[in-house]
Subunit: 440 residues, 2 copies
């Protein structure tokens, strides 16, 4: 087995190399469907790597559908793995080939008032003088001021516009942040599913870990601890803050989907719980507006601000100036608050509807996991067929599913309610039941 590990610096993403190595073998058919993967212990010994590193690679392969875990058996190559996920020529647009998309994390098509947003973009585009020059590296000053007031009102975060840095998405922010905190060396994520996050940290030489509170950087999404919307309780938040503070760890609080907390009082942000000491707060608008609007922002703690200021002019702003100007005024005129209220109401209704329809269709045979937040639930069902056959059959009949887990005879899907219209839940779930019930 040649993984060129000699060329991999200790701090680079070893698990990613293992992952890529096996993915290639699987895609090329050298590990055919049904093949049993080497045990974690054996693979680790052979590669002289830790069991954790190999396990992380296997977890990622499983998350991407290449292998499946059968407890007391091991990991096996799936059939679905034969179709690589990379861009294919003349790819049929999803909308035509997919009738029911329970896997998409897009937004509800009724939720976004395009006409209102268009007005604000048109208004921004009329500011010719402003658009003739480059944007401010840190983000437009008036927009940062608006963001400052917005997070003060919503999340009790007290800071100044000067503490805020704008970027075109979370990764753009990490591209500024990672070089500033390189001395932290290691980062911990809750699980391997946020590949966009772990990849950037690994690119800058951080070692990537999971659920390891002793890392230099702890990356959390407190309103999205699991894909089905479990949130981090306040007690746990305080514990994390205390521990990180004692061990000089930096917390990155990614407040993804904090707007969609339904079943309890709003939860205080980590940043507000410790007055911004040792916490970088990250917010974005892709779940509130459109995923195609690329604007995120971070609030830097005092201890990182000077270092940022020294380098600030070396980094060009990536977010569109016109979109910043538009969003600034959109927020000031109250439309973001109205949009957030509308979406929260809509998604909580849709989630309730989804749970009802699951109970209607599956009754006692399905068990549901649901959190206090978000737009998805996890549904576990028994299946006489392997998951790969279910997914394949479903895809052929226009039903897209996301598999979370497969254990002996039980399959767990992540069902997302945000994108699909509510009236499609029942027919989609009925189709799933029918596929599961088939004899062949």
């Amino acid at each position: 087995m040649n993984l060129d590990l000699e060329k991999t610096a200790p701090s680079e993403h070893l698990y990613l190399k293992v992952y890529q190595y096996y993915r290639e073998l699987i895609q090329k058919g050298q590990l055919p469907p049904g093949t049993k993967m080497p045990s974690l212990r054996k693979c680790a010994a052979e590669l002289c790597l830790s069991r954790t590193t190999v396990e992380n690679a296997y977890l990622q392969l499983a998350a991407d559908g290449y292998i499946i875990s059968r407890p007391q058996s091991g990991y096996f190559v799936t059939e679905r793995s034969q179709k690589p996920q990379v861009l294919k020529k003349e790819q049929t647009p999803k909308a035509l080939s997919c009738r029911y998309d329970l896997a998409s994390s897009g937004v509800d098509r009724e939720s976004f008032h395009f006409d209102v947003w268009r007005r604000y973009i048109k208004s921004a585009l009329r500011q010719s003088q402003r658009l003739l020059s480059y944007g401010e590296p840190q983000g437009e000053a008036d927009f940062r001021q608006t963001l400052c007031e917005y997070i003060r009102d919503r999340r009790n975060i007290l800071c100044t516009a000067d503490d805020i840095v704008v970027g075109a998405g979370v990764q753009s922010l990490l591209h500024i942040l990672c070089p500033l905190i390189r001395d932290k060396k290691s980062v911990s994520f809750p699980n391997p599913s946020f590949l966009q996050g772990s990849t950037v940290f690994a690119d800058y030489g951080f070692s990537v870990h999971y659920r390891d509170k002793d890392c230099g950087v702890i990356y959390v999404s407190p309103a999205h601890m699991t894909k089905w919307g479990e949130i981090m309780p306040v007690s746990r938040r305080l514990e994390l803050i205390r521990y990180a503070s004692q061990h000089n760890g930096l917390i990155i609080e990614d407040d993804f989907e904090n707007e969609f907390v339904y079943l309890q009082k709003p939860t205080p942000s980590l940043y507000s719980l410790c007055q911004g000491q040792g916490v970088v707060y990250i917010g974005s608008f892709s779940r509130l507006l459109l995923p195609s609007i690329r604007i995120s922002f971070m609030v830097l703690p005092a201890e990182l601000k000077d270092a940022y200021k020294e380098k600030a002019s070396a980094y060009n702003q990536t977010a569109s100036k016109a979109e910043q100007i538009a969003l600034c005024q959109f927020i000031r005129d109250g439309h973001l608050a109205a949009q957030t209220r509308r979406l929260k109401r809509l998604y909580s209704q849709k989630l309730r509807q989804l749970v009802e329809d699951v109970q209607k269709v599956f009754g006692e045979t399905g068990s549901i996991q649901i959190g206090s937040a978000g737009t998805s639930i996890a549904l576990t069902l028994s299946s006489r067929h392997p998951a790969r056959e279910i997914l394949s059959q479903a895809e052929q009949e226009g039903l897209r599913l996301q598999l979370l887990k497969e254990e002996e005879g039980m399959v767990t899907f992540l069902l997302s309610c945000s994108s699909m219209p509510a009236e499609d839940f029942l027919p989609a779930l009925s189709l799933l039941r029918d596929i599961l019930a088939r004899e062949d």
Copy 2:
């Protein structure tokens, strides 16, 4: 002197640390105006650094106006340095306080047909279905296809849409490219002025050099080898390609301002000269459209494509989807070609006008450096006053200048014609002459 150099990895940007150290001393007044800086040799010896590293730091300090070089004397702290360049609260917009801006590299306000661009953005914003989902990580497929045809026609670059990666500006592209070519370890720029480029490479652990063809990566802008638009002759391009190929060096060709080559036949791109072997081609639209539209693209050579594909889905697209859709159609409908022709005509006229007006105002007393391309000229004049006084006086009277160099009694300014209206050249230059002529 404590620069914490122990904490700086050998491959990090040592010159930047030296630069920041002195800049802070100057800004805090601990090195008052007129102070003589330590000689390069002495500073290098004291810091145990190479003379080149110290020189690069001094060059950057000089480029930013903090110090000035007097040959046979040394470097001295300028008076202008008392006003730090960082963001100030309630910063007066340049347009109000500055009558004549000869330093700006913005675009001519008459050059951009906002009404046409607005039509295309509005059209893009009506594509609701497309905007409800995330953009393709690599960039929108139709846009990449359009770019592919565009560079084939303009630059004789033969590639497929699949070889093209879109990003929100050059740095976003480097954030994808640098991790792919980490094994190259070192990068060479023509000079320290492209701070945005060298900073990103240094962030990823590359050692940064200048004019060193033995580096693993050679970053060049063949149509912009100097700030006054000297271009790299074809013979030199072939020589560079041959040398890099023999030494396994990767060339990054940043085709900045290739559209504004006036005085000779169009120059072949490096990429086309070697059929894309060992060259990454980078193009952008900030000089053709608006600097506030953040869209750039790169063409990956075959040898980097597989490595990119493996990681492609881990990087979210930073460029605005709506702007990609708009620009795609804008190009297809011929507006970019029309815009380019118009700008080339306009800028070549303005450059000619600027040169004429310089000769009118300064006659034999000024010597001009002009290249075959671009939007700027270098003007060297004799001055009885130090440059810092000239700059300061000029700023007070609403004239913004960019100083390139100062040698005993001679000052060199970079005069940019792109932003300022042509009718303002004569009064601006006359004002400069008057300031230079003053007795006190």
